[in-house]
């Protein structure tokens, strides 16, 4: 109905509770549901190459549902950008679901997995939607699932508090987006993305379209963790179960960035000069606040969450520079940051699972008792510091080089200053994990189980692989960046 990928995923969402029920009968609910959902993600990943060849055959856009020939018809379509994002979502989703088998408690596991796969499905829907209202519906499905997942450990006060904060802020943001959509609809009579850009080019000097632009930046930026709308992010990442933090930080924030790319670069292209400065200012603010707050943290997950905010700043900076190379850098950074941040959150989750503490003081010297996890954690941290043979280095280099090329060397300079800040807290993390003396708590920890190690090892391997052979992945990012330029 909606093309093979979404159909398969929706089928898996609907059947997960049934599989859970069967697993309960057998008495091994956890393993059965976890394996089923991981299988679902991997199966969907195998559908992607098929899909990609079809997109290439049809000149870059393949219509999945409805048609884009009439402005009033809802449609789903796929291009290189959406497939690029979908691959990231599915890989991180698979890793998180594999990791969750050990992390989540027995009683509520079926509900947990159903919401998790529903959330990833909604994100795939976001990247495939060809009109803004479909995008909004999938957006809300994603948001509602993530509120539920943040509040998942409902017996703990911090989950409830974080989830309430997140719910109020994020729904206010998405309602703001919807309000902007209603203005766009009033201006052009359609919400189909290709028609909107045509319609807006005609109605350019209308103050309503500027209002809509501001509201959309605020609404999507809120989800992407843009300062000053970032306050939900550290709380939600801290209070959620660790695999969910990996999903939130690795891919849900990226869905917000996808929304910004779609709206700013495709619909508001004629008004480029009016949003570039604003977005650059927000990006610089986001980098500084994220990095400086991360320096002060003692909670390991909170520190990583602030570093997510800083990385959002880098990606937004690439968008604001706006040249083809900068956009390639941004999308490449989306991929790299998703992998590294998922790696870091999952290995931090393994530490937390074994020691029951999130404080860096108590986790000191954990290398001696959990060597493999710590090694991979250190690889992830080094990558976050942008040490050359690891993946994040390449994308950050691209963004900085693009800034110099486009004549905005001030932005590149500010980003380099921020990289120094981020190196400071990353080195502190490494020192804590590897150099400091063991505490009583970290002495008692033991190596994580196999099911936790597999996703961590896979992500670490991907990080090194992309670092050593960046060019094929960069070509993919370039194709995705090309897809945002109509004509």
């Amino acid at each position: 109905m909606f093309g093979p990928l979404l159909d398969a995923l929706i089928f898996f969402v609907l059947t997960t509770p049934l599989v859970g029920l069967m697993g309960q009968r057998v008495g091994r609910e956890k393993i059965v549901v976890g394996a089923y959902v991981t299988f679902a993600f991997i199966f969907s990943l195998t559908l992607i190459p098929l899909f990609y060849s079809e997109v290439l055959r049809k000149n870059g856009i393949s219509i999945l549902y409805g048609s884009s020939f009439s402005p009033e018809i809802v449609c789903l379509e796929a291009n290189a950008l959406s497939i690029f994002m979908a691959v990231i979502f599915l890989v991180i989703g698979a890793m998180a679901s594999l990791f969750s088998i050990r992390e989540v408690k027995r009683g509520s596991i079926t509900g947990y997995y159903t919401i998790l796969i529903g959330m990833v499905t909604a994100m795939i829907g976001i990247v495939f939607s060809g009109d803004l209202f479909t995008l909004f519906i999938f957006w809300e499905v994603m948001c509602i699932s993530s509120y539920a997942l943040v509040a998942f450990r409902k017996e703990r006060w911090e989950s409830i508090e974080a989830s309430y904060k997140y719910l109020i802020m994020s729904s206010a943001g998405s309602i703001t987006v919807l309000f902007a959509l209603s203005f766009l609809y009033g201006l052009t009579g359609t919400l189909n993305i290709s028609y909107l850009s045509l319609g807006l080019a005609e109605a350019q000097r209308n103050s309503l379209s500027y209002m809509a632009l501001v509201m959309i930046i605020v609404g999507f930026g809120l989800q992407a963790g843009m300062v000053p709308f970032h306050t939900w992010l550290p709380d939600a990442h801290m209070a959620a179960p660790s695999p969910i933090s990996a999903v939130l930080s690795g891919i849900m924030v990226k869905a917000g960035i996808y929304g910004l790319i779609k709206v700013l670069l495709i619909i508001f292209t004629p008004m480029y000069w009016s949003w570039q400065i604003t977005l650059a200012a927000f990006a610089v603010l986001t980098m500084f606040v994220g990095n400086l707050s991360a320096l002060l943290q003692d909670d390991i997950k909170r520190l990583l969450a602030y570093s997510t905010i800083a990385n959002t700043g880098y990606i937004l900076l690439g968008l604001a520079i706006g040249s083809h190379r900068a956009l390639t850098g941004s999308l490449f950074h989306v991929l790299n940051h998703a992998i590294v941040k998922a790696l870091l959150f999952l290995s931090a989750g393994a530490f937390i699972h074994k020691t029951k503490t999130r404080s860096l003081k108590e986790l000191a010297g954990i290398r001696h008792s959990m060597p493999i996890t710590s090694t991979l954690f250190i690889i992830g941290t080094l990558s976050l510091t942008s040490i050359p043979p690891l993946n994040i280095f390449w994308s950050e280099l691209l963004i900085i080089a693009a800034g110099l090329e486009a004549g905005t060397s001030l932005l590149s300079l500010l980003m380099i200053i921020n990289l120094v800040f981020s190196a400071a807290y990353c080195l502190r993390l490494i020192q804590t994990v590897a150099v400091k003396k063991e505490t009583t708590i970290s002495k008692k920890a033991e190596e994580a189980s196999m099911l936790m190690l597999i996703p961590i090892l896979t992500l670490g391997f991907l990080s090194i692989l992309i670092g050593l052979y960046p060019s094929p992945f960069q070509t993919l990012a370039e194709a995705a960046a090309q897809a945002t330029r109509p004509g």
Partner: protein
């Protein structure tokens, strides 16, 4: 349209000023209604007096989504009440840093 903009800002004001958890959810609902009203108002621009069916579709779907948000919000408020024993958002300040 003017009406819906005013309604939206009433909702936003409410969201900023009010201290009761349930009232914050009500503020969200007011904003949602402003959006729905705006869709209907703007869709009759093209042809006088007639509302385009597309706007009806948008409105009905967004009412449904609003219902979902409020339902989940009330569940979370219920749990928060059990943890804190109050509906005052000023009490929810333990997360810091």
């Amino acid at each position: 349209m003017a009406c819906s903009v005013i309604l939206f800002f009433i909702g936003l004001y409410c969201l900023i000023v009010k201290r009761n958890m349930v009232r914050l959810l009500m503020a969200l609902e007011i904003m949602m209604n402003a959006v729905n009203l705006n869709f209907i108002a703007l869709s009759s621009y093209g042809a006088e007096g007639a509302v385009h069916p597309l706007a009806h579709v948008f409105t009905i779907l967004s009412i449904g989504i609003g219902g979902c948000i409020i339902a989940l919000g009330l569940v979370i408020v219920l749990y928060a009440y059990r943890h804190y024993g109050t509906l005052d958002v000023r009490e929810l300040r333990r997360l810091k840093g």
